[in-house]
Symmetry: C2
Subunit: 226 residues, 2 copies
């Protein structure tokens, strides 16, 4: 049951950027109406909602907000509890550095090559996967797992000793890959433990319930003990 003031998120299920916003809304216990935006289909009105033509778009407080990082910073500033940005500038820099790590570097090297070939070509009926791109993503993910493991050897959470937007940004990307079973959790036990902890938060429930038509999730995807 939603009211006129319930925020509405235009999204698609396996977009890491949409998931990032959903996880932050969930963590802050904001009820949201999810509307699937099939922006690649004729008749999509995405450009009316966001001139950049991208999802997510969040309708909240009477406005349409775009760009996942900008949306999440807005949510953290307007709904302070629980805080997802630490208090000192140097800690905040570290959170933002790691958000950019995932949203730029990890996406370029891993999420996009794998999802575009294994998911989006299927969903958009745009041909067969290019196995070279998938392989390059699967090669690159190893170095990223090692880097994240090295951070988590020294820290409780990715950016420091408190849970932050960096953890949800990382989990948003990794959970998309985990849906199609492309994360080798055996490679790093600290990363597996961290993901199990993040995954068990109530904010994660909606993401774990996602089903993409014609593409069943990996059997362990929604299991908290994987």
């Amino acid at each position: 049951m939603t009211t006129p003031s319930t925020p509405r998120l235009y999204h698609t299920a396996l977009s890491p950027y949409c998931r990032k916003v959903r996880l932050v809304l969930g963590e802050k216990r904001v009820e949201v109406e999810l509307v699937e935006e099939r922006w690649w289909e004729p008749g999509s009105e995405i450009l009316r909602r966001n001139p950049a033509g991208k999802i997510p778009v969040l309708r909240i407080d009477g406005r349409l907000l775009a760009e996942s990082q900008a949306i999440c910073e807005y949510l953290d500033e307007t709904i302070p509890s629980p805080p997802l940005m630490p208090t000192t500038p140097i800690e905040r820099h570290e959170v933002r550095r790691l958000c950019a790590w995932f949203d730029d570097k990890f996406n370029d090297e891993v999420t996009r090559p794998i999802l575009s070939e294994r998911v989006w070509k299927k969903v958009m009926k745009a041909g067969y996967p290019d196995s070279r791109l998938v392989k390059s993503g699967l090669r690159a993910v190893k170095d990223h797992i090692d880097y994240l493991g090295s951070l988590l050897e020294q820290r409780k959470w990715l950016a420091g000793n408190t849970l932050s937007l960096a953890d949800f940004t990382a989990a948003a990307h990794l959970s998309c890959l985990d849906y199609i079973s492309d994360v080798d959790w055996d490679r790093s036990s600290v990363l597996r433990e961290w993901y199990a902890t993040v995954k068990s938060r109530p904010a994660f429930r909606s993401v774990l319930a996602d089903q993409v038509s014609g593409l069943a999730p990996a059997p362990h995807y929604a299991q908290l003990d994987f």
Copy 2:
């Protein structure tokens, strides 16, 4: 003359991300030592400074900071005058949305295709320009100029009525293109006026003095009246 505590920026001249940080440092009147980082050459130590292997990297306050947007937010939080982020969450969202517009969308569609072909292949001795990419960048820039023009018809500065990080992010990208004369300023008189105003700020002086070896700037590049 620099002291041990002078911040040091590892950069290259025509990187929009490095320019963005230089412009913010300049606007806040922070003296900085510029060190050219030729990260593509053997022996570069970029990975020791930033595991993402990217510039800019700023050494400041005893730390090495990476990711241009995260660096600029850090600088704005630690050196508040003059402020480059507005005070309300909705205005701050608009600044961050436009920063992402340039650093992601404009870069993907315009800055990278044009600079990679016209500048970086030459500097890195990596072959001849692919004219299809240059043409696609030159086509795309028209829509961006129209969009920026439509914003500036309604606002004094890009994100609203105060100068912000969005203006310097935009100017960082446009100034790299302007160095090789790839901005059609005749297309939008409000955009030209805005750029002339930004370009005349003292923060811009160091950027206008840039010279890339073997690649002279366009004749109007450093002229305040162009």
